[in-house]
């Protein structure tokens, strides 16, 4: 990927007065800045679109004409062709997510813009959350905790039985960094692992299913660990869920739109699948209210990476990527073409 030509001298409103620090555009501050903003502002001058009254296109046209790097997150505005046109000197996009669905990668490739993401820094935390959600659904942890807190254990007696995790067939959708960590953990619980991926992985002994429906038909639980692309949008639909079956459980720590949410809600409402553990939704922070009536659904507010450890590691890798770029060194977690 060829880099673009060198920038003009910087100008416009900035975070602090020093002109020695390199300039970084921020369209919407990623959550990591809420916790570690100071660590970044010691090293970079942030150009924050959200702190200007101007609408974004005017802001960029006025102030971002020579900015070379942007720091973004999965929950900010989409970095599309239009935005890229308004920042003609952009050479690097650094995203605090592992996911890349909010970036027009094809356009970046065309324009020679480098992209770096969070690499592997929070794969463990996300995998832990996936396992936590799966155990919760099978063993009814949140539902039983509610039962106890409502005083029903004394009043109504024993809680209904859950389902054993050991021996369950786990279907991992997307055997990347996160999916591999999920597999490693669940094997220790006596689960058997199969997977579906864009293509079969070399050196992996887990059974591969080229078709996600076939994976579902041969699994007791599906764990969605893949990225959101045009191919994976609404990939988990009614057909897949029916193949998963009445006792089947779905866990999503990827992106909400990978699952056809309306169809999943319908399947859950009539008992066509056994339960769901969801950290992500199609239209966050909105969650279908039908799910609130269900005890076999466990929900989290997109926080699988929200631990101090992941945020510290994220801060470090973001800063290291930006520093490397500004000193013409190789990026630490560049997104490679596949």
């Amino acid at each position: 990927m060829a880099a673009r030509s060198p920038p003009q001298a910087p100008h416009g409103p900035h975070e602090n007065q020093s002109t020695d620090l390199p300039e970084v555009l921020v369209l919407k501050p990623p959550p990591v800045l809420n916790y570690f903003g100071d660590d970044f502002s010691k090293k970079f001058r942030f150009l924050k679109a959200t702190e200007s009254p101007l609408p974004i296109d005017q802001f960029l046209a006025t102030h971002a004409r020579s900015v070379r790097a942007v720091l973004c997150s999965g929950t900010g505005p989409r970095i599309n062709a239009e935005i890229l046109r308004l920042v003609p000197s952009l050479e690097l996009i650094v995203t605090t997510s592992a996911g890349l669905n909010h970036i027009d990668l094809a356009e970046c490739r065309k324009l020679g813009i480098l992209v770096a993401n969070a690499g592997d820094v929070f794969s463990e935390d996300v995998a832990d959350m996936a396992v936590g959600l799966l155990i919760d659904v099978l063993r009814k942890v949140s539902a039983a905790d509610r039962y106890v807190r409502q005083g029903l254990w004394a009043a109504k007696g024993d809680y209904p039985l859950g389902s054993k995790l050991g021996g369950k067939r786990i279907g991992i959708v997307g055997l990347g960094r996160i999916g591999s960590q999920v597999a490693k953990r669940l094997e220790a619980f006596g689960c058997s692992i199969s997977y579906n991926s864009r293509k079969r992985k070399e050196f992996v002994s887990y059974p591969f299913y080229a078709n996600v429906c076939e994976l579902a038909a041969n699994s007791d639980a599906l764990i969605i660990c893949c990225g959101l692309t045009e191919q994976t949008r609404h990939m988990i639909n009614r057909e897949v869920l029916l193949a998963l079956g009445k006792e089947g459980v779905i866990v999503n720590i990827g992106r909400g739109p990978i699952i056809h949410e309306k169809e999943m809600v319908q399947c859950l409402a009539v008992g066509e699948i056994g339960g769901a553990g969801l950290d992500v939704f199609e239209n966050e922070p909105n969650v279908p209210k039908e799910l609130f009536a269900l005890d076999n659904v466990v929900m989290a507010p997109h926080m699988a990476v929200f631990t101090p450890e992941s945020f510290q590691a994220l801060r470090d890798i973001m800063i290291e990527n930006l520093e490397a770029f500004f000193s013409n060194k190789p990026l630490l977690s560049p997104v490679m073409e596949e």
Partner: protein, 314 residues
């Protein structure tokens, strides 16, 4: 099987077990009689076997009231509700349900660790309350790579260790004796174990020696960032001390499947966000309940057919 053999079930622990016992034996159900003493007076001579569980086992009084009792087959692995010395004295056989429930209880332990550290139940409450639309949730704590201390490295403790290792946790333990064949770090003192781990998991049997083994000193050693998980027995922990430690912030959080006086749970705990409370469901899955019931039945059949018991304790 001779269906004149009388079996007394102490508690409605499993519909499946009840059905199977009914098919094979003359089944008496203690809970269906309003006066236990009257029932025992009228039927004690017809009862040769007792099936108890963690709620009602076989104490000295009950054993003494059953003069024809030959075998106690417990629907549990724990034996704290059985007067073992009385059984020994009277030549009564005792069986329990080891191994079949090991995985489920270990899974419940890790489930509780994840629920507490990652605030899973709290997250679920947060989303259900509609608060996500108004504000962000906040941070949990990472579990992977943390130090885990296990009290009791028996079947269940070992299974917990194996799972925690898959999360790259550092495992240490306290036990009656050291287990050099494992490469986990051993602490001869539970206080030292608590002081040197982030997450302390109670997985030992309840005996006189382990009653209140987790007391104020141990809780303080575990500390304000420490997490305590109990899938053993309620009386392992000095419950009032646990409650005050949580209220005062001297302990970071707790995941509890058992309590000193089930089904009563200290009221103060019900209002805390940093605890997860389960109604003694460690082995409560459809699959394991059936396996446990089958083991009870098979032990009883073996006894009355004069074959070797499958899982004898005495």
């Amino acid at each position: 099987m001779d269906s004149s053999i009388g079996v007394l079930m102490t508690y409605p622990m499993s519909d499946y077990l009840e059905q199977q016992l009914q098919k094979r034996f003359n089944l008496f159900k203690l809970w269906t009689h309003s006066s236990h003493s009257d029932f025992l007076k009228n039927n004690s001579n017809s009862i040769q076997a007792l099936v108890g569980n963690t709620k009602i086992g076989a104490d000295a009084e009950l054993i003494d009231s059953l003069p024809k009792l030959e075998i106690v087959s417990s629907y549990s692995v724990g034996l704290d509700k059985i007067d073992l010395s009385k059984c020994q004295e009277k030549g009564i056989r005792v069986t329990n349900t080891p191994d079949v429930l090991t995985d489920d209880v270990a899974d419940a332990a890790i489930g509780l660790v994840l629920a507490v550290t990652r605030r899973v139940c709290e997250c679920d409450r947060f989303v259900r309350s509609g608060l996500w639309k108004k504000r962000d949730f906040g941070l949990g704590t990472k579990f992977s790579g943390k130090s885990v201390g296990i009290v009791g490295l028996g079947r269940i403790g070992s299974a917990i260790a194996k799972r925690a290792q898959a999360f790259d946790c550092l495992i240490s333990y306290h036990s009656r004796s050291e287990r050099p064949e494992t490469n986990y770090k051993y602490y001869s003192s539970i206080i030292d174990l608590a002081a040197n781990c982030h997450i302390l998991i109670i997985a030992c049997a309840l005996t006189e020696k382990t009653h209140h083994i987790v007391n104020r000193e141990v809780i303080d050693a575990l500390g304000p960032k420490g997490i305590l998980i109990n899938i053993g027995r309620g009386p392992h922990i000095d419950e009032p001390e646990l409650v005050s430690a949580l209220l005062e912030g001297r302990l970071g959080g707790a995941g509890l499947d058992v309590f000193e006086n089930e089904p009563e749970v200290p009221e103060h705990l019900l209002a805390l966000e940093n605890v997860v409370l389960l109604p003694h469901v460690g082995s409560d899955t459809v699959e394991t309940s059936e396996s446990m019931a089958d083991l009870v039945i098979n032990n009883l059949e073996a006894h009355f057919l004069k074959k070797p018991l499958l899982t004898p304790v005495i």
